[in-house]
Symmetry: C2
Subunit: 430 residues, 2 copies
């Protein structure tokens, strides 16, 4: 039962991802038509520089007027791969108003304005799909939102930024420092000229907000996500991690509190055991570990970025949205009915690895241990190393709240015998 009138697709943006979407729509047109039940036609491509020659794209389709394109009224699906907040947000809203459904790869926009955009989609009875916004080609939004819809998700913990994983993997495998590994990532095209969004965790935090929202059926704003970059991770930290049988990854962690009454979302570097499936995720790959009541532990692994992988995710959504349009239905919209409170970072409970520079004299360990005890932070192991009047103490704690740990560290800094706190790192995945 193939419909012959094609579904019309407007493409906003024709960079690395957009050009790949257009290419696959052309080369795989027959397959897409068979899977959708109707042909799909590229009806317009909005770009900033329409004069640029784009291989495989009919110049007659290219326009610089994106607003006019989404207002045409005959567009079935708008594919937004511009990125950034504006003009993407206005264009998506206008698209809904003019009868189109939307497929987006825009993590920053979804993390910031997901609720408003979902509301606009719902108001007009249209779909908003965005599998490509998190972890590139890895099917993740759909499994969380649909496959696990009958389960209770308790934790989503993932490597969701390929640039930082490349850098950390390089530091781990070669012993390089942060700057050296970043330089290599830049030279190989894995890091942008300004790597801030990646290395300071902004990109991962946007993804954490999206994942937490879906996993916990709760609105999680970008501001709700605690964020710590990985620029201060040192070769010494990797050496400490190795001694513990761990490596270091930049993790996005979305958790339900043990009492189930609240959730947290955070991004920071953390030590994880080498035996954990996330520890062996190499290079620029992404992987997300999901823990739920009934399913147990699941992991999703694949390329987290790049033109082709992102286009794969966009096209999967395009097929779904087109199918929904043909059947007159819409897919799952925002699900925020649980409306759980999002707790601050101080409420997060985990383990910590703390390196202290201390005076090499008797009684220091007793002083330090007393401070931990006073703040209710229980010590798992302590290792003491001394030379030339200086010494270091490496303390690994049992599970404690971030607030208790912060209080402990503040008090430790005030001790005369503690010369400095060399590093504090969370320990996850145990």
């Amino acid at each position: 039962m193939m419909r012959t009138r094609p579904l019309k697709v407007a493409l906003l943006g024709c960079g690395v991802v957009g050009s790949e979407v257009a290419r696959i729509m052309t080369t795989h047109a027959d397959d897409l038509a068979a899977r959708i039940g109707a042909p799909v036609e590229l009806a317009g491509v909005a770009v900033r520089r329409p004069s640029k020659v784009r291989e495989g794209i009919d110049p007659a389709l290219v326009t610089s007027d994106a607003t006019a394109l989404v207002k045409r009224g005959d567009i079935d699906v708008v594919v937004e791969v511009i990125g950034g907040i504006e003009p993407a947000r206005s264009l998506i809203t206008t698209a809904f108003e003019h009868g189109a459904s939307v497929v987006s790869a825009n993590k920053a926009l979804l993390a910031q304005d997901g609720a408003a955009l979902h509301a606009a989609a719902g108001q007009h009875g249209k779909d908003l799909y965005y599998e490509a916004a998190v972890a590139g080609a890895i099917p993740l939004i759909r499994p969380l939102r649909e496959s696990l819809a009958g389960d209770k998700i308790n934790r989503v913990m993932g490597i969701v930024n390929g640039t930082t994983n490349f850098i950390l993997d390089k530091m781990d495998s070669t012993g390089a420092g942060y700057q050296e590994a970043l330089d290599e990532a830049t030279a190989l095209g894995y890091a942008e000229a300004d790597p801030t969004a990646d290395v300071e965790g902004f990109d991962a935090a946007a993804k954490a907000a999206i994942l937490a929202g879906i996993a916990f059926h709760t609105r999680v704003r970008l501001d709700d996500v605690y964020r710590e970059g990985m620029t201060e991770v040192t070769a010494a930290d990797f050496a400490s991690a190795k001694e513990m049988g761990c490596t270091i990854k930049l993790l996005a962690i979305c958790e339900r509190a043990e009492d189930g009454g609240s959730v947290t979302a955070r991004v920071h570097p953390a030590m994880i055991p080498l035996t954990h499936p996330l520890a062996s995720v190499r290079g620029a790959y992404n992987a997300v570990f999901v823990e739920s009541d009934a399913a147990g532990q699941l992991m999703f692994y694949g390329p987290g970025a790049g033109g082709s992988p992102t286009a794969s995710a966009v096209l999967g959504d395009l097929v779904a949205v087109c199918r929904n349009r043909l059947s007159g239905a819409t897919g799952p919209g925002e699900s925020a009915y649980a409306a759980l409170p999002v707790s601050p970072m101080g409420d997060v409970v985990t383990r910590y690895h703390i390196s202290l520079d201390v005076a090499d004299k008797p009684g220091v360990l007793a002083q330090v241990a007393t401070v931990f005890a006073e703040h209710g932070v229980s010590i798992d192991t302590v290792r003491q190393q001394g030379k030339d009047g200086e010494a270091s103490l490496v303390v690994v704690t049992h599970r404690a709240s971030d607030a208790s740990l912060s209080g402990t560290v503040e008090a430790l800094r005030k001790l005369d015998t503690v010369r400095g706190v060399a590093s504090i790192m969370r320990v996850e995945g145990e």
Copy 2:
């Protein structure tokens, strides 16, 4: 917009999976209602022994007459977790005829009669979902069928049977032989009293047929799947694998031929490099590695069996089917438009690891090498070990067709200097 009239669910079977489905439907009723948009009600439970007390299930719902239950006419969704061909097949068909959609966990039935069941569902405008039929809780059917619907899948290679993975992992880590590892699996409840379906690869072959059908949009019958069990894998094979930097897994492999014109599906033990993500899948876990044109390499990992994980997959499907019912739509049905020919095992191209017992005298290697060359099988490496007049030759080949390799082995057996072919194992994942 919550509908108050509940959707009615009939549960066929109340064993390990069914009882867990019933339990979660009760304990998570509010969440399911919020996610579906209407409450779901357990309207009947068909079992063989209705007199048995079932905790948490109202005895008034229990019946031994499954046919009457699916014929009631007010059932929205039938959940079939009986397993086996009959009466499951008749009950599912009857359910469609009486207006219900179906969620099934029945791999044997889907592999054998998937096309007919999909046709029946389509004829009555109903859904047939079966995420739980392959790899338990791991979202796999939905990602292949929906997330990758805009991509071209070239290979699906997975560990889809937890029992055999437990046995092989035990042999690998302890050096145990097959029987010893099987005995432990039986004692721990990982293997059934009659382990034939698992260890002879029947279970994995059913899953391979289902996966290949979905991945390649082509009907793949159970008979199309080449099947070799893992009962003859020895501790010596593991020792050989280790020397190559490999381990041994029972793999289900669905491949598109390099020219794209045909597909193959097979189940057999194979060596894979320790660096491959599938090599580190431990115990009874499952994992499926997917390679596609645009997305590249993806992996899905999780528990492949068990009551709770399977129930998670069943309930995810139940939510989707209920949502479809409320919106008057159906999800993706069978997609077999590509109708690619399924090639026989002889056409499969891969590498081989062959151990030969040979006479320890000059010229043997030359004779053996000539046989390989005559059959067009190119040798990668040879290792010769001799003692006491007996010697062994371990040959690892480059890529060659299964037919060429079979011809080679047949000719080798006829050589006077070859006392026996100790083992032949395929090498995958390189």
